[in-house]
Amino acid sequence: METLGNHAGAEPAILARGVWKSLTGPPVLRDVSLTVRSGETLALLGPNGAGKSTLLHVLAGVMRPSRGVVVILGRSVEDPAVRRYIGFAGHRSALYGHLTAIENLRFFADLYALPYRHAELSLELFGLGEYRDTPVRLLSRGIVQRVSLARAILHDPRVLLLDEPFTGLDASSAARLRELLSSLRLRGCAIVVATHQWNEARELADHAVVLVGGRVAANEPAAGLTPDRLAALYEERRPGVRGPRPGAPVYAESTE
């Protein structure tokens, strides 16, 4: 357990190397490499269908890469021991509509062998007290999103992977989420947020990885993001374009 324990070290919390993933047909991810250190936030940008969601699933270990490796806190993501350190909220809620908010969270507390007060705390953190005993299927999109986030951080993960977490949130919930993310970050959590909003990325993240057509089109400080820059990147490498073009942006750490 030494690598898992020592999470403040120089070792990256998330490391992906040469990741390829094919589902049906052509690969969705092509030679993706990236690193995120503890206490760092990475924004994952890209047009729809660029492979952001697939990459998050692969980083979480829910999907296995066709080629390449993912290392979480110094261990292969395939090692069951790393699972309890990963928090993941995809664009679907992973909640059961017929269970209430608290029942859903308690269910996950059971799976993570945590006391039920974690479920209550997590609910409080997102200001969900009044929805505690409402079945999830009766809640609005934005509230479900908050319950889903509450579920993702229930077990105090060290690696948090979020897919479009701000979609459907009202202004105050969004502010609450930003606050929460920065406090998690201060505690050394490594965060990856997939988004298609450049300003969101700039505000939240230290680094930004831009995926276009399943490839890393750019890996650079988030502060440098502008709409023009993104538009240029999206234009440069559309899906289906063969081979790297002359003058194409530099790839993030290529492998092989």
Partner: protein, 216 residues
């Protein structure tokens, strides 16, 4: 253990509230029994009973993993620090309980529609029913997880389940026949052997194979 109970409780709570499986299974079972009885299948009562149970099970089990997929709950389950087999075991026990409830209704109707009396050895009948049901549910739950992602799961599940369950069907029907005719447990030992082996095989196979089914 806590995770297993949580999964089981979750599945039963949802079934209790949504009532998605049991009622449709029970109604289908009653319809099949009625159709069989009306069309003169009374002489083949045991065969009718087991075909009814298999078809009703395949209807319900095809949907039993649906609720893990519509919001991608399965990803969250697979990500949790538990042995993935627990997902199968929890779901399997829940399905077994649902199936036993459906069977209660089915047997009641069966007794009336097929004019069946209580056999001389009710224990033997109970054993055959229990082993047969367990086998159907164990295999069906594994298949249910496998076909859950397919667009055509309602068709695919029976197409896969029925041929694989033939040994169970043959043995269960023959055993039921004999027991209803008044024979004892000793007369059906080889049938019970097939049923027990079937339950054993499809109870053990998922321990190794289930992870491959749910993990992309």
């Amino acid at each position: 253990m806590r995770a297993l109970l949580a999964i089981l409780r979750k599945d039963l709570t949802i079934e209790g509230r949504a009532r998605e499986l049991a009622p449709s299974m029970a109604v289908l079972a009653l319809l099949l029994l009625t159709a069989g009885s009306a069309s003169g299948m009374v002489n083949a009562a045991p065969a009718m009973l087991w075909i009814t149970l298999l078809v009703a099970a395949s209807l319900g089990l095809a949907r039993s993993f649906h609720q893990e997929l519509d919001q991608d709950q399965l990803s969250a389950l697979v990500l949790a620090p538990i042995n993935p087999v627990l997902i199968y075991v929890g779901k399997g026990i829940a399905n077994l309980l649902v199936m036993i409830a459906v069977e209660g209704v089915t047997l009641f109707a069966f007794t009336i529609l097929y004019n069946v009396g209580v056999p001389r050895e009710p224990g033997a009948l109970a054993l055959v029913l229990l082993l047969g049901t367990a086998g159907i549910v164990m295999l069906g739950t594994l298949l249910g997880a496998m076909v859950a992602v397919a667009r055509t799961r309602e068709v695919l599940l029976p197409v896969l389940l029925l041929p694989l369950a033939v040994p169970l069907l043959v043995a269960a029907v023959r055993a039921t026949e004999k027991v209803l005719a008044g024979q004892g447990i000793a007369a059906v030992s080889s049938e019970v052997g097939v049923l027990a082996s079937f339950a054993l095989l499809f109870g053990a196979a998922p321990v190794v194979l289930f992870e491959f089914v749910v993990r992309e």
